[in-house]
Symmetry: C2
Subunit: 436 residues, 2 copies
Amino acid sequence: MTTLSNNPLAVAAKSLPHKKTTNVAILGFGTVGRSVAKILCERLAEGLQLTHIYNRGIARKKVDWIPNSVRWTENIDDILSSDADVVVELVGGLQPAGDWIRRALASGKSVVTANKQLISYSGPELIALAQREKRHIAFGASVAGGIPVISGLQEGLAGDRLSKIYGILNGTCNYILSQIENRGIPFSEALAEAQTLGYAEADASDDVDDHDARAKLTILTRIGLRSNVAPDQIACGTIRIIGAVDFEYARQLGCTIRQVSWAELEGDHLYAAVRPALVKLSSPLARVEGGQNSVMATGKFGGETVFAGHGAGGNPTAVAVVSDILAIAGMGRDAAGIVAEAQQLSPSVSADFTTRHYLRFTITDRPGIIAALATILSKCGINIDSVLQKPGYSKSSLPFVITLEACKASLVEKALEQIAHLDFLVQPTISLPLLD
Amino acid sequence: MTTLSNNPLAVAAKSLPHKKTTNVAILGFGTVGRSVAKILCERLAEGLQLTHIYNRGIARKKVDWIPNSVRWTENIDDILSSDADVVVELVGGLQPAGDWIRRALASGKSVVTANKQLISYSGPELIALAQREKRHIAFGASVAGGIPVISGLQEGLAGDRLSKIYGILNGTCNYILSQIENRGIPFSEALAEAQTLGYAEADASDDVDDHDARAKLTILTRIGLRSNVAPDQIACGTIRIIGAVDFEYARQLGCTIRQVSWAELEGDHLYAAVRPALVKLSSPLARVEGGQNSVMATGKFGGETVFAGHGAGGNPTAVAVVSDILAIAGMGRDAAGIVAEAQQLSPSVSADFTTRHYLRFTITDRPGIIAALATILSKCGINIDSVLQKPGYSKSSLPFVITLEACKASLVEKALEQIAHLDFLVQPTISLPLLD
């Protein structure tokens, strides 16, 4: 590999009055950091120059394909006082990443980050800081890895008025659910396998309890629906409750089950949630396979636009990072900034969607059960759509399903609170939205 | 509707030293022009102001929902000498649209256009002119209407090295093919219906002979594969040759037929073509329905990314136009420009893809036909994959199909030239790529 110091373009650029080379420092030399460095080292002629790499324990991190001109350091101050124009934060987590980004912006550097947790919690504050400092902060890699959905919503669809964003934002959940579906294994076994294969972390709660997808949905909602929400405002429903039996019933309904992230603006109210849901087999959500991600955006003028691709992994995420660096490098100092200064709404937020529902009861069989359930549902003003019961289960732990006509989720919750007191239930009832 | 003169933000902006309002002139008040005007008039607070509309015969074009402050004119010089910052060209065609754009750029205005023919032929020249004039030209609406694929390739995937772009770029062809497939009607009948319904022009050759899709593929290839091609370098194959019988055989092969646009860079050679092809029913191409468009981009690092949505229509196209205006409005005067100045390749171009092939012969039946065909194919070094013959056709005009193992398209053409001399053929042979 040619080293940067041998690159005539880079040398020539330095002597120009208008600086043409953008110096890049990487914080965190893990999977994504290595991929970013690889891409930067392969693209010498385009005005980006990797100058610094920060990591703890650099002795065990150093690799020979990084040019000698790149400075390795274990001291963050070396980066902050350097001539780097763009600092790429790939450390993750809220701290110290947040402070480092704040200090980088205050030192006159622009920032590119893949840190979804930080941006979901502190994005607006960091954007405001960047604007005060007349620098840029970009976070295209924080949602859906290599799929350019943030730039798509922010720029490509800027001319529309988006009302709805939904999709599949966590590949680990999608993988686990497809294992339960295809092999009829319990959740715990599918999770353990995913952990063995490295698809899920040892502590998988971020993935399966939806906090990862929630952070991403928070960011997409801010960008696409111009609604300033905090992650804690968005309801989460874990996929731990899903069993193989739910896929059997779903199939009978022409559906499968996916972890669906959904945000929809209606006037000044935002409906938002991340939870498992039944989706029609013919829907684009059902077609998302394995670790793929997919985001659908619906606009007043343009209708529905689909973005799909590899949502995770070192290389796809690195593509998003490098695209952000290139965007910043191409911007003038007086550019309005990557983040459009669109007016932000502050809607009220709930998960009280109006949808059809799937209720899976597990009961000790005896006469009068449907009558008891139907009475409560009817008193709550909820109409039953269908009752499904597959044969072959024990009478003492019998799963059966009632689907409901479209109604508010809060109505269903109210009914389920009353139903919970019925003595024939042997397990808590599973309630999932059934999306059309 | 509030008129612009009542908008305090717009008035305040004019008195600021840094101009915050971007004045917009629309050339051409047809379907897209009306949609653009509608969106602009609904978005008062965001710094865009519709100031001029040019059209011939404005008396019959005027509508009452356009604010009185907007000036209507039939004289292009009124626009060119006005204080418009951005001229939106929606007239279409190569001339006079091309000259008007050149004059607008030379008058210090930026340009947004939806004109795929003009950009496919003159894009590089117009971009160079815009750069010399330190203005911007943006053409996101020229390909796939409301789907933000140009900004996606140009910015969102800028960090990748794309090698392949393919998709379905003409909704009219997709509609006609699906009518032939679903109802077994001939091409001519499907086309006539599409014309009656307004889905196809009276002169439909632009759509069905692939020149529309070719213009779009030319633009995507320049942007995504950084390859400077001219539209005439890209081979076209009409869909006029497709009959209901081809869909029957395709179904037997687990396929359907789509008009596929495909460009693939291999070293310094570009394989590119727009033509009907057999695609697997499970592929994303097969799932594109009606007037939808879909673009797939494959990169070295990010793998495959899918963009899909409404490829045509006034409103989706207008979204792309307004997004481009907003991007220009947000850019500083010293910004590098919407079109990345990435190094352009000048590859050699051919349609000599290596694929499987579907050959449909129409013959007068007699002994020895397969032997005659197999001999020629074998002499050309082509292997037969399967021979299919559906029952129920007349012996004197019998369609049957041979599929070939993957080989260069030029080899198949050579074989078909020899085959054309065989006296049992009663129609020209149909040759389609069969994409895996």
